[in-house]
């Protein structure tokens, strides 16, 4: 990469950071407990809207993993989720009525909060329907991973989005608050992911899975990106560029090995396809607040009406992280 390109990315990074600062004026603290954050704490950053039904399990899952504090942005929820979050002892929450789309799908808000509270911490940036999975997560807490990453001088950790879906109609089984969504959506696609390199940012661009298979078969280039780098030892100079798909400086995107080896990586189990999804998709059609004019949601809405069964004969049933490791979806890398 030439000096010019490098300089342009530097300018771009500064622009995202300035933008985050500007957009931060849309945020109002609803419950600020950030004074309880200790220097070694593991933090989760999350934007949510009307996810009240998902939050109880979400918080439980990450608390059990060893996360110490949650930082939420509530985007104008109309359900009780804001009150619920404000009551949690380990949650700080900001609220905003600003446009999700015009804050670059929440990333400006999150970039600001990361800069302000994430500096020096291991930070995990996820959505309420994403469940982080890493090697040995059944026997070792998240801190074991971050300690190991520290010892290995690794600053960012990759976790591809793995879409989970139920067998049968998406709305067949209602999801209840506090329930593990994987009880309903525990099927996934094991081996239909297509990977390209994005030379500009140095990251991989991964597409595929049930969404590409069922909704984007005729225009694969528009299928959603699945590559994510959610776990980062944050520094105030960093910025997420597009969702958590990539960051700047671009060295943080080098989460894959180019010389034949495997780096350690995890997965984000994406439990979007529950009965709550149909409603979300309908709402998005009118709100139009999602990526690329909500094409994704338009595609869903079209398919969802006739046959929302993503399951096929070759779908794989989720057992544990070791299964996903053997299937080659994630890797232990050098960690043993």
């Amino acid at each position: 990469m030439g000096a010019w390109q490098s300089y342009r990315l530097r300018l771009q990074r500064k622009r995202w950071r300035l933008r985050a600062l500007r957009k931060s004026r849309e945020l109002r603290p609803a419950s600020d407990r950030t004074d309880r954050i200790r220097p070694s704490d593991l933090l989760v950053f999350c934007t949510q809207r009307n996810e009240g039904v998902r939050l109880p399990y979400f918080l439980r899952y990450y608390r059990e993993m060893g996360v110490n504090h949650f930082i939420f942005v509530d985007n104008d929820s109309t359900d009780t989720s804001l009150d619920y979050l404000a009551r949690q002892e380990d949650v700080s929450v900001w609220t905003t009525r600003g446009s999700y789309k015009r804050s670059r799908f929440g990333m400006d808000w999150i970039n600001f909060l990361l800069r302000r509270y994430g500096h020096g911490h291991w930070t995990l940036t996820v959505d309420p329907d994403e469940f982080f999975l890493y090697p040995f997560c059944d026997t070792r807490p998240l801190r074991a991973l971050t300690d190991w990453l520290d010892a290995s001088s690794i600053k960012s950790f990759s976790a591809m989005l793995l879409d989970m879906y139920p067998k049968g109609r998406i709305d067949a089984q209602p999801y209840e608050a506090g329930q593990n969504p994987l009880e309903i959506a525990h099927w996934f696609d094991a081996g239909n992911y297509s990977i390209r390199r994005n030379h500009r940012y140095g990251n991989l661009w991964i597409q595929g899975g049930p969404r590409a298979r069922a909704f984007f078969a005729d225009r694969p280039e528009q299928a959603p990106a699945l590559n994510k780098v959610p776990l980062v030892r944050w520094d105030r100079r960093y910025a997420y560029v597009s969702s958590t798909h990539m960051l700047l400086p671009r060295g943080l995107n080098a989460v894959f090995d180019e010389w034949g080896g495997e780096k350690a990586s995890g997965l984000l189990l994406h439990t979007k396809f529950l009965d709550t999804f149909t409603g979300k998709a309908e709402e998005e059609l009118t709100r139009k607040q999602h990526y690329a004019g909500s094409t994704e949601y338009l595609a869903y809405a079209a398919r969802i009406r006739d046959n929302p069964d993503l399951w096929c004969k070759w779908s794989e049933k989720y057992i544990n992280w070791r299964q996903l490791e053997i299937l080659g979806l994630m890797s232990k890398g050098n960690w043993a």
Partner: protein, 566 residues
């Protein structure tokens, strides 16, 4: 006689205290060195916490940055203090704060009592071991290293380069041969005091002060000078990853560590509560005394290094995306590509599946869809047959299919109608076996019921595409197992090449083919080719196909498909 424990501590003081108490309870005196970088408050708290134990003392503090002299100086001071303060000590064992004794201390004492003259220190000459990371093996003893490797890597590297280029070499003091090995040793009083009281120690110290990573070579080298009985292995189980960084043990390694029968393990994650409580609690009846056997534990760590450096062949994923040429196997398994066979033989796919037991697909890269075996629309790994998804990344489609069907031999048909972008990936993949009958695309044209002008145009188009494909297959960089016949050549004696191809697939026991595939009826084909030629379109890829039916056919009154028999 007892064993004296030296402990180098710089963090996780709670754990260090626990371990120190454990050693002390078994009657081992402990000398602790605390890194001088540790804040005074932490240090004082730590010293105070161990204040109730008279046999636990603290030595003079040094600054212990990785790979520097401070670690050796710390060990020297601590060892001197140990030898002076505790005259009963016969063996001195160097450990760190993150070491954990795995077997009852009594067993270690008994083990050493049986070997009163043995020094346990891993020590090898640099020429003979490939341990070093970064290629600094002999150079570490002959160059200067004023820049920190951790903090000033750039200058470190440049300075090494400069010295190499100018041919700079330090003189190794007379009488010593540089050796290196694990830092964690267990030496006898005799050897250790001989090292520390050596009349030339000043010379040696001055030399090693400027050696890179002296803690891996100071005692290792001098023990060779002073000891009568070096057992070149460490009693501490310590595994290193590909960057030379120690592997860390967690709770889930408990059984593995138990079975290793090693005395001490390093390094333990400070929050591994189960490990600490399991190994520091009172032993419940000692088992038969066994030699340490780290072999079992070796395997999983060797595999981890292998995974990190070589990875799984044929896997492309979020954290493994090898550059061109670095794949260690472009695809996950061997497979066969057939071009022209299904055009020339009736029911070739079914026949091939019967003959080889392999999974035989149609045209995987066909223009309409991927023709998976048995007419499936989705195959292993939920890989769909959609042409657009496939053609958005043809290589990923191939590598996915082969990864998903690991352990099952894959065969598929290919031809000039199919996605051409994949050809080069096939040709350069040593896992591919590619068999081509060139010009066989003419057979379906011959059979079709289209206007001759259209046929001519189509034939010209296909021939052009196939010709480009053959060029790729004949490239000097093609690594696949490639066989190419012209169609004329092939039907002279079809069973010969078929047998060779099937034998190479090697799924079934090598035997002659019992059943032969049925050749398409080719009567009139020669004339068809001639007509093309007459229209100015020479189907040269078909080879020299006779215009008149071959003599053996010509005597037959009735035209019928014939069986090829050997």
């Amino acid at each position: 006689m007892s064993v004296g424990i030296l402990m180098l501590v710089h963090t996780a003081f709670g754990r260090a205290e626990q371990v120190a108490r454990h050693w002390n309870k078994a009657g081992c005196p402990v000398v602790i060195h605390v890194d001088s970088m540790v804040p005074a408050a932490d240090h004082d708290r730590f010293v105070e916490a161990l204040g109730d134990l008279p046999d636990v003392t603290f030595s003079r503090r040094h600054r212990c940055e990785w790979g520097t002299w401070g670690l050796v100086a710390a060990s020297q001071d601590a060892a001197e203090l140990m030898l002076e303060r505790f005259p009963d000590v016969r063996h001195v064992y160097l450990t760190s704060g993150s070491c954990l004794p795995l077997r009852p201390v009594e067993e270690l004492i008994a083990y050493l009592d049986e070997r009163p003259r043995t020094d346990f220190i891993e020590s090898a000459t640099t020429a003979d071991v490939p341990w070093t990371v970064g290629g600094l093996d002999e150079d570490r003893f002959t160059l200067l290293f004023p820049f920190s490797w951790r903090r000033n890597r750039f200058f470190f590297d440049r300075f090494v380069e400069l010295q190499r280029r100018t041919g700079f070499r330090r003189r190794v003091p007379r009488g010593i041969v540089p050796h290196m090995g694990s830092q964690w040793w267990c030496l006898t009083r005799q050897t250790l005091s001989a090292i520390l009281q050596n009349p030339e120690r000043r010379v040696f110290d001055r030399y090693f002060r400027r050696v890179w990573i002296p803690d891996e070579s100071y005692f290792q080298t001098l023990a060779r000078l002073c000891s009568t009985n070096v057992e070149s292995r460490s009693l501490t189980l310590s595994k290193f990853d590909f960057q030379g960084k120690p592997h860390i043990f967690y709770d889930d390694h408990l059984q593995l560590l138990r079975r290793s029968d090693c005395f001490v393990a390093r390094k333990i994650w400070p929050h591994a509560d189960r490990l600490y409580s399991a190994f520091l609690s009172d032993p419940k009846g000692t088992q038969a005394r066994q030699e340490p056997n780290p072999g079992k534990i070796d395997r999983i760590f060797t595999r981890a290094v292998d995974r990190r450096t070589r990875g799984r062949a044929g896997l492309y994923m979020q954290s493994r995306f090898p550059n061109h040429g670095w794949e260690n196997g472009v695809t996950a398994g061997r497979y066969s590509v057939f071009q022209g066979f299904s055009e020339l033989f009736k029911g070739f796919e079914g026949w091939l599946a019967r003959a080889t037991g392999a999974q035989v697909h149609g045209h995987l890269y066909g223009p309409g869809r991927a023709e998976f075996a048995d007419g499936q629309t989705v195959i292993n790994g939920a890989l769909p047959d959609t042409a657009k998804l496939r053609d958005a990344n043809p290589k990923a489609f191939l590598t996915n299919l082969l990864w998903n069907t690991r352990g099952m031999r894959q065969c598929f048909q290919y031809g000039p109608h199919d996605t051409p972008e994949i050809m080069w990936d096939l040709a350069r993949d040593p896992n591919a076996q590619i068999s081509v009958i060139s010009g066989a695309w003419a057979v379906p044209l011959f059979k079709s019921n289209a206007n001759f002008a259209d046929l001519r145009a189509e034939a010209a188009r296909l021939q052009k595409i196939e010709s480009a494909m053959l060029d790729e297959l004949r490239s000097p960089d093609a690594r696949a197992r490639i066989r190419i016949w012209t169609m004329a050549e092939f039907i002279e004696a079809p069973m010969e090449p078929l047998q060779a191809v099937i034998d190479e697939i090697g799924q079934t026991a090598p035997r002659r083919l019992a059943e032969a595939p049925v050749l398409e009826d080719l009567a009139g084909f020669g004339q068809f080719l001639q007509n093309l030629k007459n229209q100015g379109m020479h189907p040269y890829l078909v080879g020299d196909f006779p215009v008149e039916p071959a003599p053996r056919n010509s005597h037959r009154p009735a035209r019928r498909p014939y069986l090829v028999k050997k």
